[in-house]
Amino acid sequence: MYETTYHRPSTLAEAASLFSGASEARFLAGGQTLLPTMKQRLAAPTDLIDLSRLAELKGIEVTADAVTIGAGTTHATVATSAEVARAIPALAKLAGLVGDPAVRHLGTLGGSLANNDPAADYPAAVLGLGATVHTTKRSIAAEEYFQGLFTTALEEGEIITRVSFPIPARADYQKFRHPASRYALTAVFAAQMKDGSIRVAVTGAGSDGVFRAEAIEAALAANPTPSALDGVSIDPAGMLADIHGSAAYRANLVTVMAKRAVGGWAG
């Protein structure tokens, strides 16, 4: 790891001003992505601004219509929150499938979304529920937030503060995990919202990152059962391909995981 200077601000305002005063600063939350990247010398920020102890980024709030989670909340906290499990069980389940217990004890919602890894889990829930990403500057709809591999609508120095997830009528998350890295080889978040509309978001598979599977949404809108997806196939053209799985393999997995997720609605 290259040399860096560590800062621990005690407010969001102080974090923002430290950021603008440094030459190449990065925010540090759980460090479960940034520190491995720095150890590989793939990132070399001059300054690290630690957000992990900011009370302003903590907390879970549940209303009749939404679950709002502070960006600094760890995966373990979301996975074991009784409130989240009651309101959106699929979200608690998703958080419990991120990495391993030690990663979940430190890694955060905000860090995962800021990074926008194409195989990360949280982007599927944010897009699959049509969540809103709140920052120090504005509120961003899920559709505008994700802009391709490792790319988001966030501007320099903008900090995610919290995320509001609308509570669906029913939802499930099905993840086909890479057995070594534990990231998603393909995973699907499928939801039926309270107004009856269907949202299906796919992570791990798309060559532009998380996306909504429109063909699957249309089939489920006509008939919201797993068998509605029997004839639906996904075009491999837009899929990732690597040593772990070809584009055709991932395209097939999208339908398989979507079927399982809709199957999960019953339970």
Binding site: R8, L35, G99, A102
Partner: protein, 162 residues
């Protein structure tokens, strides 16, 4: 440079380290606690797992400066005098190690899962909870058996204490 004050295995310790120092480097190279191992540089193997304020974390993926003010427990802090911790004793009893390189991390993860979930734990839970710990020798079978036995024993102990 960062001044880091920690409680390590119950003892208050302070050190002046470079800001980029990882917690595992502070533990091993400065404090001489070499029981915590480093098995990879990708945050995947879990040989470096310690407890930070009571939760299992990978000490290779945390800056020493981030841990300032925290209570850290390492493998050296589990035994009481000559008496091994029940998880350590179970690893010996059930032959839960071969070369022993992964063992400190395995045991710290095992203690963490038993503390969080209570016991006795079943095989499926233990295997799921061990996903962040890699062993190149044992095939995991005896590790799982050791944790099963320790979790049952510790559940029995805590019931007896109530």
């Amino acid at each position: 440079m960062a001044k880091v004050s920690l409680t390590v295995n119950g003892k208050a310790l302070t050190a002046e380290v470079e800001d980029r120092t990882l917690l595992v480097q502070l533990l091993r190279d400065v404090f001489g606690l070499t029981g915590t191992h480093v098995g990879c540089d990708t945050s995947q193997c879990g040989a470096c797992v310690i407890h930070l304020d009571g939760r299992a974390v990978k000490s290779c993926t945390l800056l020493a400066a981030q841990a300032d003010g925290a209570a850290v427990t390492t493998i050296e802090g589990l035994a009481v005098g000559d008496e091994l911790h029940p998880v350590q004793a179970a690893f010996r009893e059930h032959h839960g190690l071969q070369c022993g390189f992964c063992t400190p991390g395995m045991i710290m993860s095992a203690v963490d899962m038993i503390n969080r979930l209570g016991g006795p734990l079943d095989e499926e839970t233990i295997r799921h909870e061990l996903e962040g710990n890699i062993c190149r020798c044992t095939g995991y079978h005896n590790i799982v058996k050791a944790i099963e036995a320790a979790s049952a024993q510790m559940a029995g102990l805590s019931q007896a204490a109530e």
